[in-house]
Symmetry: C2
Subunit: 191 residues, 2 copies
């Protein structure tokens, strides 16, 4: 997706050790126009998959997941990391490594909003090791729902998330695919 | 906003002690069509305020803040509660009581995305005591930016947030105003 790649080249910062800062468009500030275009692009790529629900994880997945849900005309659910007082048990829970705090983060989804009838598209901001998305896929499986696809805004191929998620046997679409982040700060796209 | 009130009456649950569960549309599942309509309504109410940036707090403010930002054609920034590895110091920090964990939560905004030139509209999911929104307003003040307005999707007047925020001297708009949550489960709107 050229608009996204151009934005990453213009505003993304290679902080070293494979860390990409895109806080100006995705992880702190949100470029709403770009986010709507991202949702439309995910909808185009998954329009033949009969998606009934989008699933993401709070926090940074919410914006692209919501615009995708809008473009596909389906609801979106975001897995909670902290149980709100309104969330009644039982809930589906899976764990993934925490990026910000070390240790593990629990991802919780209420059975009220994820049912065995659903065909689910998982959307997240990054596909790196794939561990967060794998936990979301296990939540789909726990609910007896059908995982129909996985979409990431930015993929870093050198962290091998695509291979780690291949066992789910579903289409994986990333809108910007980064194959290399060099020590001199260069960001190299796969295409 | 009638569409929102109807949704709250149809799907909201009065859990007692003033707690309103709207997890089906705002706090866990997102109704994307409703959220876009909410963004358009906020944009209509603040279109004459020369807003240059929307500010919200993660997590549940992100969806309505993003659709408002899209409708107004401005960027949106969400204050982070956990410092991501991409966020460099110095950052603006203010504290507010935590709804989910007890104690306090820190709200952090990078000076990169909030400047003295900005005219800021704060958007959040709930206006209850107003303490989270007050912390966001202090972040705006710290940055030397101008607070131009405050918008909440749902206001609970019996928690007095509007009075607690009146010292900022800016317009406060809520799209659904709840004046009473009765013990029998009834939800009463102000209008």
């Amino acid at each position: 997706m050229k608009l996204l790649q151009d934005k990453i080249l213009a505003e993304g910062v290679n902080l070293g050790r494979g860390i990409l800062k895109v806080d100006s468009l995705l992880n702190h500030q949100i470029d709403a126009v770009l986010m709507v275009a991202i949702g439309q692009e995910f909808a185009r790529r998954f329009e033949h998959c009969a998606i009934s629900r989008i699933l993401t994880a709070e926090v940074s997945g919410i914006a692209p997941a919501m615009t995708t849900a809008y473009a596909l005309g389906v609801p979106m659910v975001y897995a909670r990391k902290h149980k709100p007082i309104t969330m009644k048990e039982p809930v589906w829970v899976e764990s993934a490594p925490s990026h910000t705090k070390g240790g593990e983060v629990h991802l919780m989804v209420s059975p009220e909003y994820l049912s065995a009838r659903d065909r689910v598209l998982i959307i997240d901001d990054f596909l790196a090791t794939g561990k967060t998305i794998d936990a979301l896929a296990r939540l789909v499986q726990n609910a007896g729902a059908t995982l129909a696809g996985i979409g990431a805004v930015i993929e870093k191929t050198f962290e091998h998330g695509r291979e780690n998620l291949s066992h789910w046997g579903v289409p994986i679409e990333s809108l910007a695919i980064i194959s290399e982040m060099r020590d001199d700060g260069t960001i190299v796209f796969a295409n």
